[in-house]
Amino acid sequence: MDRLIESAKLHSDAFEIYKLDESRNTIEFEDGKLKDIESTIHAGVALRIIKDRRAGFAYTKNVSNNEALVLNAVDTIKGGVEAPYDFPHTKSVPTLNTYDAAIEDVTNTTIVDECRRINALMTSKVNGQINIDAGTSISGIKIRNSSGANLSTRTSYYAITISILYPESATGIERSLEFKKFEEVDDSFLNNLIDLYNRSEREINTAGGRMKILFMPEAMYTLIWRLQNAVSGESLYHGQSPLAGKLNTDIFSKQLSIIDNPIDDSRPGARAFDDEGVPCKELVIVDKGTLTNYYYDLFYAAKMKAKPNGRGFKTLRWNDDRISVKPVPTLTSLSIEPGATGFEQLIGSMQRGIIVCGALGAHSGNIPNGDFSIGLSPGLYVEGGQIVGRIKDAMIAGNIYSIMNRVIDIEDSLHPAYTGYYPAVLFDDINVATKS
């Protein structure tokens, strides 16, 4: 890296080097059959430079060709992309427990054996087909910049997702677990999944209308995406946030607090600094219904004359090649504060309603406006406080600034799901469209 630094210094006023190495193993079981084992060993370097307040960017997977990387970044400066920020002078960051060396000893055989154990246990208790995806990853990030930051982190990760598909269908109940090392899935987790499946196996036709809707953690990203979009510095700057100018105002029910906390290392993937070397800290986005913070990367913090708050990450929704993208404002570690009610009590409180276990088409509504309109995949139908089956051919629709003011109750525990850790949340009066 030293040679790259020397070369970058020669050609720029300021520079940032981002180095990533990553290895992954993924294992896929379908219907009790081992379908696939895939491995990846990747590395890469991304370089950002600033010259005369103009930004240059280049990346490579060929980590030995430093000169070409620098010249490529220099070449992009000619385009005239503005760089209104300086790279941060980050001297120290909190020490986090993100890596468990035990991950190095986990073989694919161990994971295959675990998948087979789970499959055998569940197959005897459900009619549905069992699918399991599991895998490990180890990644290392190093960031050095011309302001003196010299940061590194190493992350270990093991995740497993278990699905039970309904007969005559490819839709089912699904739940995930994630750890910093390999851990066996405990029986209570599997039994809860089996129980939810068995109670919802029957397919039901029912009339639509307005009713109570329980969003499971696995469907919560539908609502969270719209909030993430609205409180991003990027949306604020470009005039497409309905929450512009609404800091310290009540936007949601007082029961809702939404927090992004990358330094919580009780979960895998914690980060002490973002992908621009800015220290991370807990950021309360919504506190008891009141909007309390927006989030920024370096670029949009400078544009909005705000302080960067460690949310510049190299992520894009449809692109997992972190080396190839520049940082953008991103919330990586969201959670909704749990309530005090058990999951079964939540169901018991629903006279008539639907439990949304999976959302279809969450990305295709009018996200900036907060609107959503999703297929239920599946939606479990509740009558008289009991799950009586799964609803056939139904959609729900609404707007987060309306429905998140109609929270009835919140589950007392958090579950890992896409975009964060969430409890199930019960909302009132959401419109359901069905064929009946």
């Binding site: 379908k35 895939e38 491995s39 990747h42 280049a58 055989t109 279809l360 509504g365 469209a433």
Partner: protein, 454 residues
């Protein structure tokens, strides 16, 4: 390059192995509103090794040649692990040995166009949209992606192919007070840079629609008869039907495999669906797939009856069906999986006006806004639509998402017009992105689709 690939293959002690090296050359220009956010190009490369041995199969992707020994060892170990737990030993369908190079004809190779000219053109379209004072912002991007692929296998195939894709596309956001609306806009393809020139009308039209949506009413949720335009019909065909024609999606799903048996009637006699990557000039065109198989036109549904399926060598052998040349990777980071090339509903004998007349009352829905499937259920968005009453197109509606079940929806396609149109840009996210996923239909009339609404 072939010598390098062959030297790696020689290290693989297995019944079969193949290796693909790809150089990926990307050029990106991005505008966010009036601001240029990104401009420049990058070249990266990597390898994907696949091994078949003792009835087990595995793959590994790596970027650094120093890791080749480890990659070979890991792939063999994983293949052997697979073989221990596979009920039916995995085999590959026999295919021709191919030693060919293929470079598609381009109407202007974008690599020969200066970055300044690309910037000027993107800027021009972006400015055109922003000149409308109801437009709050834009995300208009130029993307050029060149994949230079070398493929070799232990059977003796050695194939070089170039895939060149370019597009100017993005999102247009309009705003009136607290109401925000957006539409997607796109021009592009894999036929060369000239497809991007003189496309002002595309951007002007979408800018106008984005502002008209500010005056449109939200759609009323319920069950309706609808006419879908070519873009939306294309997403339906891709999402709802196409994915179930991919053998790797259904191979281990008992019920889906049963429902998707060749010879099963799935739609009315008017419905014919085909996937054809061999159509030159279309976005989804390629000659050889990423396991060295020549692509072929594959009829999937003929007069409403299932007649074909998209296969890899592995699934063709497992199903006992013909290999089709549809195994494609996003780039050097991935082993190939089964993908659609250019999927479409073949033209019918009605006209668009005839379809609206047959619809009577319902909705006319236009332009895709993303879609998703889970099993036989699908949901996809429409960018805008119109109320249809007594065979007359009326006021515009917004906030439209449609949901349905593959089997009942295919059975409910009751009329097809004669105006087939294929997409210029695509994007399928089946584990990996596929920006060359091409789809289209004529206008189609479907009975009883669920539309979500407040």
């Amino acid at each position: 390059m072939f010598d390098k690939l062959k030297s790696i293959l020689e290290k693989v002690d297995a019944e079969y192995a193949d290796i693909r090296h790809e150089t990926k050359i990307e050029t990106r220009i991005a505008f966010n509103g009036k601001e240029l956010k990104e401009i420049g190009g990058n070249t990266t490369d990597g390898y994907v090794l696949r091994v078949l041995d003792r009835g087990g199969y595995s793959s590994i992707a790596f970027t650094d040649l120093d890791n080749q020994e480890k990659a070979v060892r890991t792939a063999i170990e994983n293949a052997h692990l697979m073989s221990r737990f596979t009920e039916q030993p995995i085999t590959f369908e026999k295919v021709d040995i191919i030693t060919k190079e293929y470079t598609p004809d381009l109407a202007e190779d974008p690599r020969q166009i200066s970055i300044d000219e690309k910037l000027a053109l993107t800027n021009k379209y972006n400015d055109l949209v922003l000149s409308n004072d109801k437009i709050a912002t834009t995300n208009i991007n130029y993307l050029e992606l060149v994949r230079e692929k070398h493929f070799a296998n232990t059977e003796g195939s050695a194939i070089r192919e170039e895939l060149v894709t370019n597009r100017i596309s993005g999102l247009i956001t309009s705003r009136d007070g607290n109401l925000i609306q957006n539409v997607r806009v796109a021009a592009g393809g894999s036929s060369g840079f000239s497809v991007l020139r003189n496309r002002e009308a595309v951007f002007e039209n979408k800018s106008r629609i984005a502002t008209e949506l500010l005056r449109a009413q939200p759609v009323q949720g319920g069950c309706y008869n609808v006419v879908l335009n070519q873009s939306l019909g294309g997403v339906f065909t891709h999402e709802a039907f196409g994915h179930f024609s991919e053998a790797d999606i259904i191979e281990n799903n008992r019920s889906m495999r049963d429902k998707m048996k060749l010879g099963t009637r799935m739609g009315c006699e008017k419905v014919n669906i085909t996937d054809d990557p061999t159509m030159t000039g279309q976005l989804g065109h390629y000659r050889y797939d990423d396991e060295g198989v020549m692509a072929r036109r594959t009829p999937l549904l003929k007069e409403g009856v299932l007649v074909g399926r998209l296969h890899s060598r592995r699934t063709a052998a497992a199903f006992g069906e013909l290999v089709s040349g549809h195994t494609v990777a996003e780039d050097y980071r991935y082993a190939p999986i089964i993908r659609m090339g250019t999927i479409f509903i073949e033209p019918g004998d009605d006209t668009f006006e005839g379809l609206i007349d047959k619809l009577g009352s319902g909705y006319y829905l236009l332009d895709a806004k993303g879609g998703e499937t889970s099993g036989e259920n699908f949901t996809f968005g429409a960018q805008y639509g119109f109320v249809v009453k007594n065979g007359k197109i009326g006021e515009m509606v917004r906030d439209i998402n449609i949901s349905g079940n593959l089997y009942s929806t295919l059975a409910n396609i009751i009329a097809i017009s004669d105006d087939l149109k294929l997409s210029e840009t695509g994007g399928c996210g089946k584990g990996q992105a596929n920006i060359r996923s091409c789809y289209g239909t004529p206008h189609i009339l479907i009975n009883e689709l669920i539309i979500g609404g407040s």
